[in-house]
Point group: none
Amino acid sequence: MDQFVSTFTNKIDAKGRISVPVSFRTVLAKDGFEGIYCYPSLDDAALDAGGQRLVDKIQLLLEDIAPYSDERDHLAMALFGASEVLSIDQDGRIKIPERLCDHAALSSKATFVGLGGKFQIWEPEKFQDQFSAGRKKLSEFKGLLGTDRRKPGDAEGARE
Amino acid sequence: MDQFVSTFTNKIDAKGRISVPVSFRTVLAKDGFEGIYCYPSLDDAALDAGGQRLVDKIQLLLEDIAPYSDERDHLAMALFGASEVLSIDQDGRIKIPERLCDHAALSSKATFVGLGGKFQIWEPEKFQDQFSAGRKKLSEFKGLLGTDRRKPGDAEGARE
DNA sequence: TGGGATATCATGGGCGTCAATGGATGGAAG
DNA sequence: CTTCCATCCATTGACGCCCATGATATCCCA
């Protein structure tokens, strides 16, 4: 699996360290990035994080939005300037810088939530709210995902 | 056979483990996915589960619904964040995380229901209710299913 | 055809390993 | 000297691996 999946809530210890879920570390290792690329989410009181794939995506996004312009530099500054590369210690822990903690209102615990190509870090209670809201929104689309209201190809009959 | 078919009710042991029906394991092995991708059903108190095919479907869905919006993050959270990749031990058993057990109200037993391209996991009694209800509805659509009609009574493989 | 031997699968339990966490040590920087 | 940070070690609880059991279905051969 090369996607960030599931959610984990871990403790931030007295020294500000927190364990990164092992499955996330595995994904990061696979895309060959030493550490975690991390920046404040633009939309939420949370942190966006990921590995090389995320960095590439941001670069593409920048080039798309503002090719060869001054504006691009400004955007780049806003995005990259607010970012940090967090190193993972040998026990799989990171230390989240204060500036980022502030943005996400992190104190004693943090929730890692996988979003496929990247993941986010939330204060657990804020996460719950956001999650419920997202779930509700998702059910508006449920016709598309469905409980397998059987695609044509899925018509089943024979047994083994 | 590359479809999830039939119904099995198995026991959840003291350690929270449950055997995945061997025929389901065979299907999973065929589509090349180590483990079971699993998330709470949007419509029911049950779990949706499957292999690589299911993951692909979800990814496509996300790209369809919300390419590059902040909404996409929220939907990704509701989908990937609520999901788990369950590893199958060498005896063919999985451990269903508490969060998922809660959603499906699983305690001592669970029913695996094949739906073709994916399968569901139900609390046995809830499944019975759902099954009867579904059967009633099914008769309304019988015409659509044509010759391939399976009598519901035939669908049970559970040994109890 | 019947009955015993064999294979397969669901299930239970013991045990070693690993992940998450807490704490200690050593060194660099202010 | 004191603070910050990285490495290292210890503890605990969960999980994976392994083996045993029982029940069922399959096969083989007289």
